[in-house]
């Protein structure tokens, strides 16, 4: 006979269970090791607290323009504008961009002077996966403001959606 009876190839209940166990163990060892995104929102919050240097973190004064959904996280356009008169007495000293779930939360820091005229930047950043972006602004008087924006990423900068 060319066609052999199917019964001979059937796995017993015990074999199925053993195979399932092996598969689970393999996943546990190799599959669940973290790939690229190592940072956590906790790390970003710690960074934010470090920037504040004990000063109270206040919400507002920053306007972020970031797409709600992006196809390509490897270059996502972000714009922020900090509300400030930008005079010698009162200006924005520096602005930090933090990405909560990137490999390293620090994205970039921008320093301004009264010569800048406006504390407004447009640039392109990498977003590894869907997450919240934090923009924190240090003012010349030492106060610190922050704002958040959410961005969903269809295809992240890390290569895994």
């Amino acid at each position: 006979m060319i066609i052999e009876p199917m019964e001979e190839y059937r796995l017993s209940r015990r074999q199925v269970l053993v195979l399932g166990g092996v598969a689970l163990a393999t996943t546990a060892i190799f599959g669940l090791t973290p790939f690229n995104a190592k940072a956590s929102p906790k790390e970003a919050r710690a960074k934010l607290a470090e920037l504040a240097k004990g000063a109270e973190l206040q919400k507002g004064r920053i306007n972020i323009t970031l797409p709600k959904l992006t196809q390509d996280g490897s270059r996502t356009r972000i714009k922020f504008a900090v509300d400030s008169p930008m005079t010698e007495q009162d200006y924005v000293k520096s602005v930090h961009i933090l990405a909560e779930r990137n490999t390293v939360p620090n994205v970039g820091t921008y320093h301004f002077t009264p010569l800048s005229g406006k504390a407004e930047i447009t640039t392109r950043i990498r977003i590894v996966k869907s997450q919240t972006i934090i923009v924190a602004a240090e003012m010349s008087d030492g106060s610190i403001y922050y704002a958040k924006a959410r961005c969903n990423v269809a295809r992240g900068a890390g290569g895994c959606g």
């Binding site: 490897s74 990405a99 990137n102 490999t103 921008y110 005229g117 447009t122 392109r124 950043i125």
Partner: protein, 111 residues
């Protein structure tokens, strides 16, 4: 055709004192994080621009410290308050002490 590594600056060539001008800058750079593996399975060595500075006649206008989150071919748009005729100098500092600079003059139309 522009040179592959020449930075591109777009800003007005004339302005009035007190104006706030918009400056757009772009430079070609891979911004390798040093974490990625290439096609041959080897880790691609880190090569990043770490600092950008824009100065007007020696005085700082805007500067930036770049970390891993800045996309390749860094694009930056910012503003500057016009105080007089002079030259804006743009400087990018990359890993391996590579420095790229360019400068653009600005003239004043009202005295």
């Amino acid at each position: 055709m522009m040179k592959p590594n020449a930075p591109r600056i777009r800003m007005p060539s004339t302005a009035k004192i007190g104006d706030i001008i918009q400056i757009k800058t772009k430079i070609r750079h891979p911004m390798e994080t040093g974490w990625r593996k290439g096609g041959d399975g080897q880790t691609v060595p880190r090569d990043r621009i770490t600092r950008f500075t824009c100065t007007f006649e020696g005085k700082e206008v805007v500067s930036a410290d770049y970390d891993s989150g800045i996309a390749s071919d860094p694009y930056l748009m910012f503003h500057a308050k016009v105080t007089g005729t002079g030259v804006y100098t743009f400087k990018w500092e990359a890993d391996g002490e590579k420095i790229m600079t360019t400068s653009v003059p600005l003239t004043i139309t009202n005295a």
